[in-house]
């Protein structure tokens, strides 16, 4: 059953992305179908209060299980996600013009996002949640950057991606730690844990939640994301994605609320966001940004309540989450409608809209009152519950909670008042010119407005839904309910004071004319640190990837030489003897002398010949060791190499280029290091005791099994014939390569201004000989 939800969504994504190009904006209506289906399923589960689960094991030993659970809490949130999704889709069909491009893709992505969000809500294991979490980041990146030719949208999308996906990695760390600390299989039955692991997990999970739910200081991506088309803002940035952090905190709190950091850190995040978000909402001039900052503030309130985690607080948080989703989606829709119908969202240019857009005004007013927590709107009992919750705490927590909630709420009322006053009542009296109403846009907003209004009438039913949801998080939430008229309680008096103070403040601020649009503090910092890390990366890359082959070779040789350090201690000095006989000694000295001499020869051919003499002398060493086959091969190979040099040298300059003294010294130094390293390595590894040599056995079996007296030959053609087979194919490839490379006229000739990365400058490497 639960899988079918996701399957239907994914099928929808496939269908919409295939036929979307033809359907244009009607593809949103197709995309609404799966959402409607899951909304129905969620609603049924909510009303029946049933719990359904589904799971499949992906990688058992890693605890990688994908499990879904539709219970009181998740069906409640899922209903919000899918229900508002349906409305947003309808709204989007009206929002976009018939000629807009790429709507099929957009609708498919929106549906994909909805599926991810559904997964996140239903997740019952950490990895299900993480998977959905990351998918929401990715799909929202695509949605925010919908206007892909607009650089501002691209930057905003990148910023959102970096912050939310970065938060995702923090979450990954948090979940791994949590999995270790709290070895429960399902999120729904995590036991409370404490200790270092739990504390680390708590910190990481709260940070992750803060990035997603746009909590200060991670909120900076949210205002930028307003660049997205308004349906996206209405859906992602009010009702759903930003709630992901809240859901995470809610789900993780049973396990982690006992840790010492949980409440302080969560409350800090939340309070800061409440205050700073509200201040932002009071400063900005773009109606949509005002709402976005308001969202930051409201989310802060939910995080504060969930962080306190008392029964009342959880109950209040879920109530606010519910109310907020409804009124904020409606408000975004209205702002989008204003944008489409007047061509602007700047509050300085809007004038007298309360007359020219009466329906929108009505909906906005209802929703705003709900946001401010004024009866008879849904927001009122929710806010009331929050104040009650604060009053229900004790000691220092009570003070902190009261100050935070009262302060935040006053500011909330203030920016709400400012919003209504400036957007609808502002201006010079002459109403802004307004295009005709589009019913597809107006209807969903109106529906949400009605919900806010009628929700107040059906508080009993809503309580029946919210309470079990809250109980899922904290089983002490049982006793609370949303109350229409509480009487003159402390909480009510406080609420009344909040509204009065906030309204006055809002009115005062809305009178003040501000001319310059404020900037989002910190957004530049993010962009700068992204660009800055790219710059740093460039420096690092230029350092290590300098393109000089001799440099690479030197690095490699030096590293190899360092690798022989452990050998030094293992050298057995007693074992070292001189030569076996005089000839060996003479030849060895000669080899060394020739090797040194080869570095002093200025002409290439000369160097080749001197190296040849090294080879011949080594053949002599083989003679003294009684290895005739090696002598033969060595001599042949040396000769062929010299001949090859002669043939090839026609293409190079005849003399070596000269180098600076420093370079020369470095090269000599590294060469000596390499020589020492090889000597050390061989001396050390040849120390005893070694297993007896198997040469005897080799020569016996070579004759008996291999049928040859020449052991070397038997080794080559029989015992290790596979190696020989490999090596002769190497020769074949070399031959083919020689032909392929040299027998063709080169397409490009090295131009002199290109920096050469070759070890030696060459005049005619590519062999332009025809």
């Amino acid at each position: 059953m639960l899988w079918s939800l996701l399957v239907v969504h994914l099928l929808g994504v496939a269908v919409v992305s295939m036929v979307g190009a033809r359907l244009a904006r009607w593809s949103f209506l197709v995309a609404a179908l799966p959402m409607a289906f899951s909304a129905t399923v969620a609603a049924i589960a909510l009303v029946d209060q049933t719990t359904t689960r589904a799971e499949f094991t992906w990688v058992g030993p890693l605890d990688l299980t994908i499990a879904l659970r539709l219970d009181a809490f998740s069906s409640f949130i899922a209903l919000l996600v899918s229900g508002i999704g349906v409305l947003v889709c309808v709204y989007a069909a009206g929002y976009f013009s018939a000629s807009a491009q790429g709507l099929g893709r957009f609708a498919a992505t929106l549906l994909g996002f909805s599926a991810a969000m559904l997964g996140l809500v239903l997740a019952d294991t950490v990895w299900t949640m993480f998977l959905s979490w990351e998918l929401t980041s990715i799909t929202s990146f695509l949605l925010v950057g919908h206007q892909r030719t607009d650089p501002v949208a691209r930057t905003a999308a990148r910023r959102a991606l970096v912050i939310t996906a970065g938060g995702g990695l923090v979450l990954l760390g948090g979940f791994v730690v949590l999995n270790d600390a709290a070895p429960g299989r399902y999120l729904s039955d995590l036991e409370p844990v404490t200790g270092t692991g739990a504390t680390v997990a708590a910190i990481l999970i709260l940070i992750a939640a803060a990035t997603k739910s746009a909590q200060v200081p991670f909120h900076i991506w949210l205002p930028g994301a307003m660049k997205a088309p308004t349906p996206v803002s209405a859906y992602l940035h009010s009702a759903t994605m930003v709630k992901a952090g809240v859901v995470l905190v809610a789900v993780a709190s049973p396990a982690l609320a006992q840790t010492s950091v949980w409440t302080p850190l969560g409350v800090t995040f939340g309070t800061a966001s409440m205050v700073w978000g509200a201040i932002g909402a009071l400063r900005h001039l773009d109606a949509k940004l005002i709402l976005a900052w308001g969202t930051v503030s409201q989310l802060g309130l939910m995080i504060v309540l969930l962080s306190f985690g008392s029964g009342k607080a959880v109950f209040a948080a879920i109530s606010i989450l519910f109310a907020h989703a409804i009124f904020k989606a409606a408000l975004f829709m209205i702002v989008g409608e204003i944008d489409i119908r007047t061509g602007t969202r700047d509050i300085r240019e809007l004038s007298g809209l309360y007359r020219s857009m009466p329906l929108a005004y009505g909906v906005a007013l209802v929703s705003s009152l709900s946001m401010a927590g004024v009866p008879p709107m849904l927001g009122f009992p929710a806010k009331e519950a929050a104040v009650e919750a604060a009053l229900g705490l004790s000691g220092g927590e009570r003070t902190v909670a009261l100050v935070a909630i009262i302060g935040g709420s006053v500011l909330t009322v203030a920016y709400t008042a400012r919003f209504i006053l400036t957007v609808f009542h502002g201006g010079n009296g002459t109403p802004t010119a307004v295009a005709p109403r589009r019913w597809l846009m107006a209807a969903p907003a109106a529906f949400l407005g009605a919900c806010t209004l009628f929700g107040f009438a059906f508080l009993g039913n809503i309580t029946d839904w919210v309470r079990p949801a809250a109980v899922t998080i904290n089983n002490k939430a049982e006793v609370y309910s949303l109350i229409r008229w509480p009487g003159l309680t402390d909480a009510f008096l406080i609420s009344a004071g909040i509204v009065a103070a906030g309204a006055a403040l809002g009115w005062a601020i809305s009178r003040r004319a501000t001319d310059t649009a404020p900037r989002t503090i910190g957004a530049d910092t993010v962009d700068m640190s992204i660009d800055g890390s790219i710059t740093i990366a460039r420096h690092i890359a230029a350092r290590v990837q300098h393109g000089s082959l001799p440099g690479y070779v030197l690095t490699m040789v030096a590293v190899a030489a360092l690798a022989t350090i452990p050998f030094i201690g293992a050298i057995d000095f007693d074992m070292i003897t001189g030569a076996d006989n005089a000839a060996q000694m003479v030849l060895a000295i000669f080899v060394a002398a020739s090797a040194v001499a080869s570095t002093q020869v200025r002409t290439r051919l000369g160097a080749a010949l001197v190296l040849g003499s090294v080879g011949f002398a080594i053949a002599g060493l083989f003679v003294t060791s009684g290895a005739p086959d090696l002598v033969l091969t060595q001599l042949l190979v040396e000769t062929v190499i010299v001949v090859g040099f002669v043939l090839g040298l026609g293409r190079l300059t005849t003399t070596f280029p000269r180098h600076g003294a420093l370079w020369q010294t470095t090269r000599i130094g590294v060469s000596l290091m390499a020589a020492a390293a090889v000597a050390v390595g061989l001396t050390a590894s040849a120390r005893g005791p070694v297993p007896a040599s198997n040469v005897e056995r080799l020569s016996d079996e070579a004759v008996s099994e291999g049928g040859g007296k020449n052991v070397v030959n038997v080794i080559l053609t029989d015992i290790r014939a596979l190696d020989t087979l490999g090596e002769i194919v190497v020769l074949v490839v070399v031959a083919v390569g020689v032909l392929a490379l040299l027998r063709r006229r080169p397409e490009v000739v090295l131009s002199p201004d290109e920096p050469s990365r070759l070890p030696e400058p060459t005049d005619n490497l590519t062999g332009a000989d025809r």
Binding site: V637, V714, L716, T717, T724, L731, V732, D769
Partner: protein, 157 residues
């Protein structure tokens, strides 16, 4: 000083002609000697290669193309590697046959010897390829007009 336009002197040419069969005989000897003495397919291949280098310098055209030689060598070696499996043995297993050949007397030859033929073909093929690739014939007959060639190259690039 040799006249550059006509290639090497008749003496070199004659010397090379004389050396060719001699070297080839030695190559055959070395090839068969390999089983019990220094030598084998690799040395034989290099010897044949040396002959080819000599001939090439003396102005004789190369008698083979490299790639067929290389390909044949590879196929022979691989066949020898795989053949024992037809008889249900491990691959690259050795099959020894004893027989008497003219001049060489009693020779114990096995699949290793066939394998060695592959080695020889490939080694000499490599040398042909190198000669071909480096256009060793230029060493024998220098381009008619080096200066002219250079200007052509510059014009075309």
């Amino acid at each position: 000083m040799i006249d550059q336009t006509t290639g090497p002197s008749p003496i070199v040419s004659l010397g090379v002609r004389a050396a060719t069969p001699l070297a080839l005989v030695i190559a055959v000897f070395v090839f068969f000697a390999g089983h019990n003495r220094p030598g084998g397919g690799f040395a034989a291949g290099l010897l044949i290669g040396a002959v080819l280098v000599l001939r090439s310098i003396a102005g004789f055209p190369l008698p083979f193309r490299a790639i067929p030689l290389l390909a044949t060598g590879t196929i022979i070696a691989c066949t020898v590697a795989l053949a024992p499996m037809l008889w249900g043995n491990v691959f690259l297993d050795q099959v020894v046959v004893e027989q008497t050949l003219p001049l060489l007397g009693k020779v114990k030859s096995g699949s290793a010897l066939v394998f060695d033929i592959g080695v020889t073909l490939i080694v000499s093929g490599l040398i042909v390829a190198v000669l071909d690739g480096f256009r060793a014939d230029h060493l024998a007959t220098p381009p008619p007009d080096l200066a002219n060639e250079k200007t052509n190259a510059e014009n075309s690039s």
